[in-house]
Point group: C2
Chain length 147, copies 2
């Protein structure tokens, strides 16, 4: 163990924060021509896979507060990528669905993951191992945050 437990270089939270920001920074120039920010891209990934979904379900999938999603979805709506309609059977709930333009954008998005992997220049193997370890931390953080 290091002599200084508060050494910046040894903090996992510091490495996590910088890794997250650094990788998202790689996405920026690729997503920008598509008119998307990174959180908006994640929302679109969820919609391409599971559309239509409620705000509550999106909140669960993306681990984002509804209060964060609400303005984000409005921006995507005003970009013409999705529609926000009230669920007829439960007017409390909002059904978020893609427009044709939103569906069409998926073809552009197919180029994104290869571009990122090439930009990182890392082995797929190593990325998968990182993904596995991240999944484990996420689970650990979730389990113990309910005490």
């Amino acid at each position: 163990m290091p002599e200084n437990p508060l050494a910046l270089e040894h903090q996992v939270c510091f490495a996590l924060a910088i890794a997250s920001r650094s990788v998202i920074a790689l996405y920026r120039p690729i997503l920008e021509p598509m008119g998307l920010t990174h959180p908006q891209y994640l929302v679109m990934l969820a919609l391409w896979e599971f559309e239509p979904v409620s705000v509550k379900d999106l909140s669960g999938m993306l681990q984002l507060e509804p209060a964060t999603l609400s303005p984000l979805l409005k921006r995507l709506e005003s970009s013409g990528l999705l529609r926000r309609d009230r669920d007829a059977r439960d007017e409390r709930s909002l059904a978020v669905a893609l427009t044709d333009k939103g569906r069409a954008l998926r073809n552009e998005a197919l180029k994104v993951p290869p571009a990122i992997v090439a930009g990182l220049g890392m082995d797929i193997d190593e990325l998968m191992q990182l993904h596995e370890r991240l999944t484990r931390v996420i689970a650990a953080a979730k389990n113990h945050s309910e005490d």
Copy 2:
């Protein structure tokens, strides 16, 4: 490889973003009684180790834009934890230094890392391996963002 390259669950950037937010969320209730947010905590770590430092040096250490640090440092100053004085030899530069109150807070902070490790309930070994992999992604993202 997965059949759907845009599957949300397989995106490393998604796991990174959630892991970062989840772990930071663990810090929140621990840092809140100390009057710190997580980014402010990282700044304090840097100061406890390297004080006094300029905004530019902090920006390099924490990989944050000066424009992000500027208001953050002002908040820490108004909390009475640090001082912001112009460097006498180069009036462009700002010397960020701790106050006695800021130095004293380090004793409180010593309790933070053990509390987090206990909260996560993970092996130190696994955390160190994660740290190593994160360091490698950070390096990869940095190297290839200069093209």
